[in-house]
Symmetry: C2
């Protein structure tokens, strides 16, 4: 491979929630509008993330959505689609397509069905994807989310991947929820692009030399999260972080994906957003009331969000 | 749907290991030979199971393999392919294809990426698959394997599925490793076809009214497991179970899938069988020696296995 210079991601990215029609098919037009709204709030697009219900979508559906977004004018240089699947050919196919469409990075889960696998096995899995995609433009951001994938990306594995593919394996999203782990990555791998998996760790991540966060809450609160990203060295940084934590405190009382969709449905006046794919279930009436009571106490709004 | 009478599975089934070529593509001809060998030992074919590395295969690869097996004369009436994936369209597509090809059942994982999901969400996931496949011939065997899928199928969920789809949701493979759970299923759901997920529980399962087992070890030890199935009421039943337990004791010192492949490679003289797909790793030289030492102490052989 020849060396290719590609901008690294930094700042705030949203694992964009995926709207579904009544037949449970993804709704590309609605998704494109949401992506444009997020971009207008300085929020990058980690489409096909965990909070996008991406693992409830087939590879074909993700390829079609990606094509539709690019055709709707969503800038692929701001897109970091999730491309990691259980099966090697699926990961290769979607990753190659994302590179071809100009996406500036891919957020890559390890293969997550088999548990208790070795670092050697995971190294081979990532290496096979890189070799098979075979494109110097590929930039991989590893996706460490042990609470859900149940297959961790260890520090030793990261070290080995960076050593073997320094121009390709360029960063990570740490959704372990374990600050000590994020800190260890920041200290051990200077120059590696580390994103917090939640805005709760944004200020600490930036102070430690990290790149930003890729966060569920960026779906509904992108401007405030981005403000902390730009003002983290200012005197009000702690207060901005506290505000973000208050919103997170309300959201995390509920299943996150249905709660995000409920919030977007409410503020956009577009009930279609409530729909989730099984095995998820939308919020109950009681949960909806409780969520909106919590958000209105914070005087939370989503300015400019339109259906 | 009209009522369709289909034979229920019973006896011993193997989650057939999947051979790969040097390019890591599945090797359909080798798999067909193995399937014929297993059938000649009275062993049914739970192809695309956990031990088949099925979750490292794309839907397209599984469809191609299934077609190749049927074309190679493998009887679909003896096949219970694993068809459950994370994404609804993938599960629907593979399940519909299996029914169309005449497979007498489908072994169906729940969607397994999202954790902590509700019984309501899992019920909807199975219901959507059943409605979308829309074929009265479909017979689903639920696949409960919480150590790996990390998404359990509770007794309450089973009850609800049986009530809604009595002709379709006809059985389960219990790979919880928890005998109390298997026993509870046997007691609570008379007429439901319960398979132990390992031959370790075969005798207890048969005594409790269960149908048999779907077991990794059936890949290498089908005749002995089948013998216990036919002689479970005989005086030698306990001794036969103890023999099965001895073999299992040797195998479970190693990662199961690479150990099964190593054993088949060794007894068939066909080194190609050793290959696994990432994230799995074949046994090391030391592990291979230890495995064969353990098996030879049991005077274990695989008679009639040819490459």
């Amino acid at each position: 491979m020849t060396r290719v210079i590609t901008m690294r991601f930094s700042g705030i990215l949203s694992p964009v929630i995926t709207p579904f029609g009544a037949d449970l098919r993804p709704d590309a037009a609605r998704l494109a509008r949401q992506c444009h709204w997020l971009l207008s709030r300085n929020c990058g697009l980690a489409v096909f993330g965990t909070n996008s219900e991406a693992n409830s979508l087939s590879v074909e559906e993700k390829i079609e959505l990606l094509d539709a977004l690019v055709e709707a004018g969503v800038d692929p240089a701001r897109m970091m689609p999730g491309t990691g699947a259980c099966a090697l050919p699926d990961t290769v196919r979607l990753t190659a397509h994302a590179v071809k469409r100009g996406c500036a990075g891919a957020l890559m889960l390890p293969p997550f069905y088999y548990k208790g696998v070795s670092d050697e096995g995971l190294f081979r899995a990532y290496a096979e994807v890189i070799e098979r995609v075979g494109d110097a433009r590929l930039r991989i951001y590893l996706y460490h989310i042990p609470p859900i994938a149940q297959v961790p990306i260890t520090l030793d594995l990261i070290e080995r991947l960076i050593a073997a593919y320094p121009d390709t394996v360029v960063g990570i999203k740490d959704s372990s929820g374990d600050w000590d782990n994020t800190q260890a990555m920041l200290e051990r791998f200077p120059g590696f692009t580390v994103f917090a998996g939640s805005e709760s760790f944004l200020l600490r991540t930036l102070r430690g030399g990290g790149a930003g966060c890729i966060s569920a809450a960026a779906n509904i609160n992108p401007a405030a999260i981005h403000r902390l990203y730009t003002e983290w060295q200012s005197p009000q940084a702690e207060a901005l972080q506290a505000d973000l934590d208050s919103l997170r405190g309300v959201m995390q009382k509920f299943p996150m994906i249905p709660a995000l969709k409920e919030a977007v449905a409410h503020y956009s006046g577009d009930a279609e957003w409530r729909r989730v794919r099984p095995p998820l279930v939308e919020l109950s009436e009681d949960q909806r009331r409780e969520l909106h009571a919590g958000l209105s106490k914070l005087e939370f709004t989503m300015p400019g969000l339109v259906a």
